[in-house]
């Protein structure tokens, strides 16, 4: 049985031409208009409507995800267990040395009055939405402008930097993770203070760009925010170098990073509301 054709193909061609032109106009307007333009406002409205849906999805699927996570943990092999034990030993020794550094740091801060820099205010938030498509790394949290959250504020997990708020409604906000292709974080290597920019990518790979070839970088080096640009406070943990290499044709090193925070498995985050965000968002927002 063949389905009947319900329309004239030439009419359909006319329809698609009109719609394609409309698509191109909307794309152009999106790039040309400001944050207060009609399409941006329409998106903000869509996000406000979608937030409860995302929260429902998060709530409903949580037990299933918990079971899956538990099941995957059952598969820890002997080699993984041995590696974890070895890592635990190393971390214990590192904690001891870091404790010394922390105490020294505290004394220095007291001496130079750096306590003022701790005037950051923060608000806790729950993750209520995950990325809705494959092409971006953006999550939704349950705090919005009613809680003092504004666009451009840094967002942290207990392990380290997560990203930055890029849009805010009354009771929700969207956070662009540092793995997103449009993300850029002014950062530096803690050990040698070499500065660069932590960038995400479509593939999810995080890199530290613009570090000169003369700088010595090795796997395990800790990356922290540099404070340049004023978006992120200085000293927030970003991640750890996993590999560094050089190509003859490049001015800079190719440095790959493992983010400190588990960016997609997290459930609670902290928004630093005490920082004054400049309007560095990118991606047309």
């Amino acid at each position: 049985m063949k389905l009947p054709h319900p329309e004239n193909p030439s009419n359909a061609l006319g329809v698609v031409i009109v719609l394609v032109v409309a698509s191109l106009v909307i794309t152009t307007v999106w790039y040309r208009e400001g944050d207060l333009g009609p399409i941006h406002k329409l998106r903000a409205g869509t996000h406000a409507v979608a937030a409860p849906l995302q929260a429902t999805g998060e709530f409903v699927t949580r037990p299933v995800r918990g079971v899956l996570a538990w099941a995957s943990d059952l598969g820890v092999s002997r080699s993984q267990l041995a590696a974890l034990k070895k890592q635990n030993t190393e971390l214990r020794s590192r904690v001891a040395s870091l404790e010394e550094a922390r105490q020294e740091n505290e004394r220095l801060r007291a001496l130079f009055g750096f306590v003022q820099t701790a005037k950051l205010e923060a608000v806790g938030a729950r993750v209520i939405g995950r990325p809705t498509n494959s092409w971006e790394r953006v999550i939704t949290i349950d705090r919005g402008s009613a809680d003092g959250v504004r666009v451009g504020m840094p967002v942290l997990a207990t392990e380290g930097l997560l990203g930055q708020t890029i849009s805010v409604t009354n009771h929700s906000a969207r956070v662009r993770l540092i793995t997103d292709a449009r993300s850029g974080v002014a950062a530096m290597i803690q050990s040698n203070r070499a500065e660069g920019v932590v960038k995400g990518s479509i593939e999810g790979q995080v890199t530290l760009a613009f570090v000169s070839r003369e700088t010595t970088v090795k796997a395990g080096d800790v990356i922290i925010t540099s404070g340049m640009g004023g978006v992120y406070p200085k000293g927030l943990l970003v991640g750890e170098v996993t590999a560094a290499s050089q190509t003859p044709s490049s001015l800079f090193q190719d440095i790959k990073i493992a983010p400190a925070a588990d960016l997609l498995g997290l459930e609670e985050v902290v928004v630093l509301t005490g920082t004054a965000p400049p309007t560095q968002i990118g991606g047309g927002e």
Binding site: M1, P6, L19, V20, T46, E136, A181, R182
Partner: protein, 170 residues
């Protein structure tokens, strides 16, 4: 009128699934695209005109739900809906291989087109890397989901006809 309402319901259901469920069905970094499946199915059932119109609506919803530029998926789904709808005349209700083949080709084409547009707009990544990490896995995942979505949605959209799609699957 009785053909418009099921179509609107299907698009709204696709939007709700995309916002509320798709993030939790992600495999690796690949999130299924329910709106794409809705557009392709409607285009196969209704033809190129409705396919393009629904593609426009669904593409706008997809772009507005995300945080990237508004427009790329709008353009991609409009054209995908139209081109897929051109195959409408060749769809035999009892057949399953041709619809699935069209669905697979349409999803891969849409993913590649979207990636290329992002690349042109300066928001994309290296083509081959993106192809193997996003486009191809996305097309495979969406095609697999189409096995579940297409028969039910096509049946829902054409309740007045005796659609028996997939009954010969065995």
């Amino acid at each position: 009128m009785n053909r418009i309402l099921p179509t609107i319901a299907a698009v709204l259901a696709g939007a709700v699934l995309q916002a509320g469920l798709a993030p939790y069905l992600s495999m690796g970094r690949v999130v299924p695209n329910f709106l794409l499946l809705v557009v392709v199915t409607i285009a196969l059932v209704e033809g190129p005109g409705p396919g393009a119109t629904v593609g426009f609506s669904a593409g706008l919803i997809f772009d507005l739900l995300g945080s990237g530029p508004v427009g790329p998926m709008l353009l991609v789904l409009t054209i995908t809906g139209f081109l897929t709808g051109l195959m409408h005349e060749n769809m035999f209700a009892e057949g399953w291989l041709l619809p699935l083949t069209v669905l697979a080709i349409a999803t891969l084409s849409a993913e590649v087109a979207y990636g290329l547009i992002l690349l042109l707009l300066g928001d994309g990544g290296p083509f081959w890397s993106t192809f193997f990490t996003k486009m191809l896995p996305g097309a495979v995942y969406n095609s697999a989901l189409a096995l579940l979505v297409y028969p039910w949605l096509a049946h829902f959209l054409r309740q007045e006809r005796s659609i028996t799609t997939f009954r010969r699957l065995g």
